[in-house]
Symmetry: C2
Subunit: 599 residues, 2 copies
């Protein structure tokens, strides 16, 4: 059995813990930059637990080993942890302790918690420090116990960076640095330590390939009022980039020198940093020497508001991507029941169609193709070895996206392959209605995602159901498919900042219904925030849709939709046909015509 | 001209300021308890400005006198300030400084700001202290400069308190005190200083009559872990209440002794207080002697969740009140164009109908009857001298409520008196649709008003309009018509706490459209928060409606409503007829039948 290996590895880890005087060992899921996706090199938690979801923390304690993950992964984690002896802690469920609460309860005075401080964000590290300190417990953050156990561990990824042309960026890195320095002045910061990779790429108008699906290079930035230091692996530096740095007065340093540099630097003012993204080890290095100002990276909000050049490129890229997904749906419907297909081969087909597109760089995340009950696992990923055969019945959920020179896409459609139940139709209609109600919102400037979430979620709540995630997230520009600070969520978290939706921001709109053991439905479009009328009552805002791909007619039934929702669907489909048809073959066009007819 | 008096009074005030070394004098609108409505005795700001709205702060500066008020009162303030030379500062509008920003700009180092610290809340006082301190300016908070100028000032109100029977309260004051002490223990507080009048009435199960429309008595409470002191004016104490205090071990003290008592008390622990409600003078007294814990009064959240006895009484009281308002609408429609009527006489008629009702104690606020463009002033109040004649055309907005032995009501209907424009119908329909969409929401536990506001406001936003106030507020039980902590609002305020809607909470639902110079529409029902289905996705919540009064059919037009909204209206009207008809005359019943027919 596969998971016997896990049991062995955990035994080795416990030995090593004992040798190092460590009673509890924590393995978060992060690289040194708290990136969302992490390279193979950093998949220590998966190595020790077999759980492959994107979010999870493993705690190896004296008696118990626990894995914490969120609602998207409950079902997947249950499956993957089977036979490992690891207990699953379902985050945010009633009665389930948080990691810190768990450690506070389980650890005794004198106990030591170990973790690699480079892969823990400093907010979390500081909180651990405080809480465990109160208990009389200790922290050792300077070691990575996977060393020596994980013998065939992949090396740190390192790819050459490439410089984005100006007609792709719409703004030089000089202009961006000036805006960043303006924010530094506002915050009375003399220095800005930036370790968030997508922010670094945005700032310098470059891209890399060091993180799966995220076109980023492992790097750090240190911006002073006059200078700008950029830390990059030697192997990532090209001659062109060296010249580019000279042109813009960027001082190039070796990635691995960052700690030494920050230790030796003569600080004459405060350092701006973002506790949510800087790692705990690096934070500890600087905070010993300089005053620290914790604030959101100023690059975050600047990056989130796309400029006109970026927006125009995105519209073109989305159109290209919409055509591909529409053609894929046609292909799937045509072949189902005729050609043997499974979740994996279907995903491969879609990926290969994208790979042929103009300007394609990479997928923006691994394509999710979940058939029937597998779609209820929100971020299920079929593999070559482990997948479900597709039949001419039920529904296939496909969530996918691409990185193009000109934008990042993200789309989900749930495709009907044959007969489906009335309950499924009802759920499908609620999701479609919610998605389009949010799309068509008209709202005053100042609204944050919390004001709007109920528009998408309401029809699902009407059925006494919920989806255990936000409705939407920001999307990067040739960057991470998930980016902040904007989002569409409903939950109130005390003290949490919220971000007003600004013109030029991009958000996804992806309500869903997930029925464990039965089906999963998600329909996801990407929206651009636009200004509308301004009058005495204020600045009104609305969305421009970037995604035009049919919503499966076979699951839409008038009896589960209000007249208003039917009108929204029909209008949307009319627009889908108008925009996409010109790029289709006659056969495809005929099919799309029927698919987008008024219901 | 009326406002010459104001000019004279301000001149006298400036003289007095000079005598007292005061450069800027601030007159907030509050009693010693920061009550929403204040007795005549406390209307110093109105005395010096003629502005009679419920919210306003006057600043008399070296050169300029300014009045700050909120969006509800902009139009009214413009009218009332005419000829006074006072500048209007429209709060929350772009470019308008807050009071503190204004003082920071206008005051020089060495300048002194004077105000009566008993009528300023301590949060605001502390902030002033900090901000003006940074400027090198001073504060004098120990004087009320109205003394000597306002010669015929009414004395402090003082009425006997009455004890509520247990079948009205559903809980003894002993039980309530125990819950309060539990919250004190949670906060590590040894003492709890309570100065919020409605919380005091709730805690001791008594009511008073010292504040217009709020059945409260001027009082203070000081709760220790074992003792409970209650400060009440001598004239308010009855023999029955003296015995009641003995029975429950409440130590009675004179209201005017509070400062002396708090000054002399031997504190052996921290004092819990609510900075939003304690006055600055009293706060300063205690904070000199004891450690202070600033938190919401624990009574607030306890009071907001009504118990089953209270809810049953409220349902009965609302039914009684609904019948009265329905009969009033009938009467108005029958008499319009036949009997001379104006805003004031119409309001008087409604008030007199309420006064005859079983268990009637008082109005819950002064009835607002605004005809045509007057209704655009959100809290306009017609008077005997100053009112508009009603004609068989346009709309009359009536916002009113009663205090009954068994509950507090609040309802608005906008009544069509004759011909109205298509635009008015469209606005009326948007308001009705919004009100009923919020009413029919199904949502997960944890939602706060910010999640739900858009349901009511959305249809108004659709028309690129807004109403410059929240959608709803909490309602007291035989207490203040506005109470917290729950509300329905959309705006994000950083650091602001939000309150999840708990079963048993009461909120109003009152979207509106206000067109300056033309018309005002508001439709307000009162809702009770109820638990719905609980399943794996969480605890679902919904509202039970307490208000059943027809929404004027003459302004409802299918062409401005979605099919779904039409269904909501028809269902609501069916229920109005079912509940109200049994209490009407045959003639009224026939009319209501027609008024509640499906549209």
């Amino acid at each position: 059995m596969e998971n016997e290996k896990i049991v062995e590895r955990l035994a080795l880890l416990r030995d090593k813990m004992q040798q190092n005087g460590i009673d509890f060992y924590m393995i978060p899921t992060a690289d040194f930059h708290n990136s969302e996706y992490v390279d193979k090199h950093f998949k220590v938690r998966e190595f020790f637990s077999n759980f492959s979801g994107s979010n999870g923390t493993l705690i190896v304690g004296k008696k118990e080993t626990g894995l914490w993950t969120d609602g998207r992964y409950f079902i997947q984690a249950e499956n993957e942890l089977r036979g490992t002896g690891i207990s699953l802690f379902r985050m945010n469920e009633d009665g389930v302790p948080t990691i810190i609460e768990y450690l506070e309860t389980e650890m005794q005075a004198g106990d030591t918690l170990g973790f690699d401080g480079r892969v823990a964000d400093c907010n979390f590290g500081k909180k651990l420090e405080e809480k465990l300190g109160q208990k009389g417990a200790f922290i050792k953050y300077g070691m990575d116990l996977a060393e020596g156990i994980w013998v065939d561990r992949p090396t740190l990824p390192c790819h050459e960076v490439f410089i984005l042309p100006e007609d792709i960026c719409g703004q030089t890195c000089e202009e961006k640095l000036e805006k960043v320095r303006e924010k530094m002045r506002e915050k009375n910061a003399s220095y800005f330590l930036l370790s968030k990779l997508d922010d670094l790429m945005w700032l310098f108008n470059i891209r890399g390939m060091d993180v799966t699906c995220n076109p980023v290079a492992l790097s750090y930035g240190f911006v002073t009022r006059k200078e700008c230091f950029f830390f990059l692996q030697q192997g990532a530096v090209t001659e062109a980039f060296r010249q580019y740095c000279e042109k813009y007065n960027i001082i190039l340093k070796d990635y691995h020198e960052i700690t030494k540099f920050l230790k030796e630097y003569s600080y004459e003012g405060a350092v701006l940093y973002d506790a949510a993204h800087l790692n705990y080890a690096l934070y500890s290095t600087v905070s010993e020497k300089a005053q620290m100002i914790n604030a959101a990276n100023p690059t975050e909000a600047l990056k989130a508001v796309k400029n006109e050049v970026e927006l125009q490129n995105m519209r073109e890229v989305f159109l290209r991507d919409n055509v591909i997904v529409t053609k894929f749906i046609y292909w799937l419907k045509k072949n189902i029941g005729k050609t043997p297909l499974n979740e994996y081969t279907a995903a491969m087909k879609l990926d290969s169609m994208r790979r042929q597109a103009e300007g394609f760089l990479d997928l923006s995340f691994e394509t999710i193709a979940g058939y029937k009950e597998n779609a209820a696992m929100m971020h299920y990923e079929a593999t070559k070895e482990n997948n479900k055969q597709l039949e001419p019945e039920g529904m296939l959920l496909v969530d996918s996206g691409g990185q193009y020179l000109g934008g990042t896409t993200d789309i989900t459609r749930t495709i009907v392959l044959g007969e489906i139940s009335e309950e499924m139709k009802q759920h499908f209609c609620a999701v479609a209605a919610g998605m389009l109600r949010l799309t068509n919102a008209n709202f005053l400037y100042g609204c944050t995602g919390r004001n709007l979430d109920i528009l998408a979620r309401g029809p699902v709540w009407e059925l006494n159901m919920d989806y255990k995630c936000g409705t939407g997230h920001g999307v990067g520009y040739i960057l991470n498919v998930h980016e902040g600070p904007q989002n569409i969520r409903w939950k109130f978290v005390e003290g949490q900042k919220e971000c007003a939706l600004e013109e030029g921001m991009i958000v996804t709109n992806e309500p869903g219904v997930y029925r464990e053991g039965s089906h999963g439905i998600r329909t996801e479009n990407v929206l651009l925030v636009r200004k509308g009328e301004k009058n005495g009552d204020g600045q009104f805002m609305h969305f421009e849709t970037l995604t035009f791909v049919p919503i499966d007619r076979a699951a839409l039934d008038q009896k589960y939709l209000t007249k208003t929702d039917i009108k929204l669907i029909n209008n949307y489909h009319k627009e889908v046909y108008r925009r996409i048809a010109p790029y289709l073959t006659e056969e495809e066009k005929e099919w799309l015509k029927a698919e987008t007819m008024p219901i």
